[in-house]
Amino acid sequence: MDLPEDLKYTREHEWARREGNRITVGITDYAQKELGDVVYVDLPPLGRTVSQGESFGVVESVKTVSDLYAPVGGKVVAGNEELVQKPELVNSSPYGEGWMIVIELSQAEELDNLLDARAYRALVEGQGS
């Protein structure tokens, strides 16, 4: 299981990468493996404001459909349009080309509510992966 040390994680299996005020969001390697082949990703329109923990979209695989939850609150300033044509990037490159949205962070302290790589690993290993 690939779990980059420099990312923060949610209990719902999203990751967050901070660059200044901008937080790039995707789903973890564990999540993509559990979902199996991703066939659709529905992302919010640019400019929408989300709060921490709010559903911002949906990821659908052959097996199932799951909500996506915002790791932090803020304004959605970018979405990965490539996922419309190539949803499989979520499987092949969950932390890279499979990124989903960028949120402009409104409250930096919300990052403290997220898990680090070690805590997230403990969480998913507890789930029997």
């Binding site: 199996g36 082949d37 066939v39 659709y40 949906v58 659908e60 695989s61 052959v62 097996k63 459909v65």
Partner: protein, 304 residues
């Protein structure tokens, strides 16, 4: 009184038949395959999730001299499916696989283990299902995986099997069929032989047929992106007229496909499925989504 809805009396030893167990109101207790092992011996292959329920039901209605024996916990079934199933399995068995017709079976060794080999499956591909004693579960599995290396054999779970069976519009018990569903509405009238004499569930089914069938199981594909899932409502305009019982994203067609029940009066109109709050138009499909490649040997015209 007969046990199953199809006519097991027409089976010869070495033949298999798709059939149903029906309850007092004509609902489906289980969908099963019936193997005629000998003139006076039959094997029923039931859905694993229904073993307890079937046994309870069979025991409470048993009225025949024949002995009923539950071999479930000691029996393994493996399904080897796909265009290479025959050459692959042939490497492990002295049985003449080429002479087993669709819905036929033989008893022979597979990887040195006494097995029942039937040309059956739940994928729409040519292939075999083999049954053998659980003491050899691992040994046979490993030999098959080993022999399968040069054929590109892969283990496959229920998710993959679900896409295959849905592309063939094979009903799945617990989704498309249940105790309150009749075979008539499920499109399984062809395995209900109402004229063969009485059988469990026969009377109510005759009555229901005469009364008219209120709803029907249809297969459909989505006109736009989306994946239908079990329990999503189906609408004709703004009127709810049914619900989805199975759905998936078809890897072959690269689109959402599904099955569901629709009121008989609304079968011809324009239909939509509500997918997470959004109505998406569905098109009824009356042929299989993908061509079936089961091997209907010329001889199978005589099998039921």
């Amino acid at each position: 009184m007969n046990l199953t809805t199809n006519d097991a009396g027409r089976l010869l030893p070495g033949q298999v038949q798709y059939s149903l167990l029906c309850n007092e109101s004509g609902g489906i207790v289980d969908d099963i395959t019936v193997y005629r092992l000998a003139a006076d011996r039959f094997m029923l292959c039931v859905n694993a999730a229904n073993i307890e329920k079937d046994l309870r039901w069979l025991k409470s209605h048993w009225q025949w001299e024949a002995k009923l024996q539950d071999l479930s916990s000691e029996t393994v079934q493996l399904a080897i499916q796909g265009p290479s199933a025959e050459p692959l399995l042939q490497r492990l068995t002295p049985a003449q696989l080429g002479s087993i017709s669709y819905y036929g079976f033989v008893v022979e060794q597979v990887a040195g283990v006494q097995s029942l080999i039937s040309r059956t499956g739940y994928t729409g591909e040519d292939g075999f299902e083999i049954y053998y004693h659980r003491d050899h579960a691992r040994q046979v599995w490993e030999k098959i995986m080993e022999a399968g290396k040069s054929f590109g054999l892969k283990p496959c779970g229920l998710g993959a099997r679900d896409t295959l069976r849905l592309e063939m519009q094979y009903a799945l018990y617990g989704h498309d069929l249940d105790d309150s569903t009749t075979p008539l509405e499920a499109g399984l009238g062809w395995v209900v032989k109402l004229d063969k004499g009485n059988f469990l569930g026969g009377e109510p089914l005759r009555r229901r047929k005469a009364e008219g069938i209120p709803r029907k199981l249809i297969a459909f594909e989505l006109g736009e992106r989306g994946v239908p899932r079990s329990h999503y409502p189906i609408f004709s305009g703004d009127r709810p007229v049914g619900h989805v019982t199975s759905g998936t994203f078809s890897p072959c067609l690269q689109k959402g496909i599904g099955m569901g029940y629709v009121d008989s009066g609304d079968l011809t109109g324009e239909l939509s499925a509500e997918i997470r709050g959004k109505k998406i138009r569905i098109q009824r499909v009356t042929t299989t989504f993908w061509p079936s490649r089961v091997k209907k040997h010329p001889r199978s015209s005589t099998t039921p």
